[in-house]
Amino acid sequence: MNVMRIGKINLNQHIATSIEKFSQNGGEKVSNYVNAAGKAVIAPLVIMHNPFTKEDEDNRKWASIKQPVEAVITLAMQLVSLGLLYKGIDSLIKKGKINFKYVENASKDISKIPEKILKACNYDYEKALSMYKKQYNEIFKDRLGAIVTTITYLPVLAVSNKIYPKIAEKIVNKKKNENKSAQ
């Protein structure tokens, strides 16, 4: 029983550490990872094995192949564009070219820092201000990142629409040929 208990706690601690590491990536990146994983793995399975449709199998194959192809292209483009954006913003913040109004206020008056952060830092003013600033930067980058992600859909879909029919045709035709030769 003790072994099971230790195992369970360890597993939860591993998940907790992963969540903590993952959350340091910022909401926008996390959102893109989850989105790509769902699109690449779950969506094709659901389209292919949907019991509520009588749609032709070939058509469903075409619709389901589109999902992972698009997910890979989307994630690659988003990682590159967000990487560049975040790097650029970090550099501007470091140079002092981007200053947040509420962070400036908080640096003059400790009471402006949210209680939640002060409590988490045991009311260590320097540490709390640094954490407040860090969270501010991350959310600011995320909001700009969301705009960039939306814009990247245009080139993503253009590239995906060119590549995916070729892949779909190859896979569907290959399977057809295999079935024919098996018969």
Binding site: A16, G38, V46, A63, I98, N99, K116, A120, I139, P165
Partner: protein, 179 residues
Amino acid sequence: MKINPLNKLAQSEMLNKHINKVIKDDMFGAKTLVALNVTKDVFAYAIRFKTTMQNEKIPEEKRPFVASMDLMSGVVTAIMQIGVGFSLAHHKIQDIIWDKFFKNCNFKDIVAAKKGFSQIMALIGSTILAERILVPLIATPFAEKFGKKFFPHKNKENINYSHFISIEEFNKDIKDYSK
């Protein structure tokens, strides 16, 4: 003097209020993320539908179903993602799951971890459960019916879809149908 537009944005009251609220309230942060995801998806599905209909590389007989799938997924996904994502972002549900699994765990930065957890939960609910499982299940039969309604073909051997490839023609058909 050169004005930095990003700094101007960083000084705006509206953005500062928004960021401060996201920091103070994890649930608001998670809900904002879901709402942003839905906005991005609606935009992407609209573009996807338009480009699929105009994509001559997809065989004409496959195009209506693939495009209808995109359009129906866009409509259903927006509703489902908000419903499931917002429900999972609710603080009562979050607290139950957090206490059950991570109450005794060690964190370097518990504030960031809790925020990350609420975001991941809302995203898994809205993006994987709603968008990838529930939506295709609902959208596929809708797409099938929609495709047959707006892209009817009596003679399967002789199909001319070129009329529907133009988005303007398609819009006209929708207007005619709604009348």
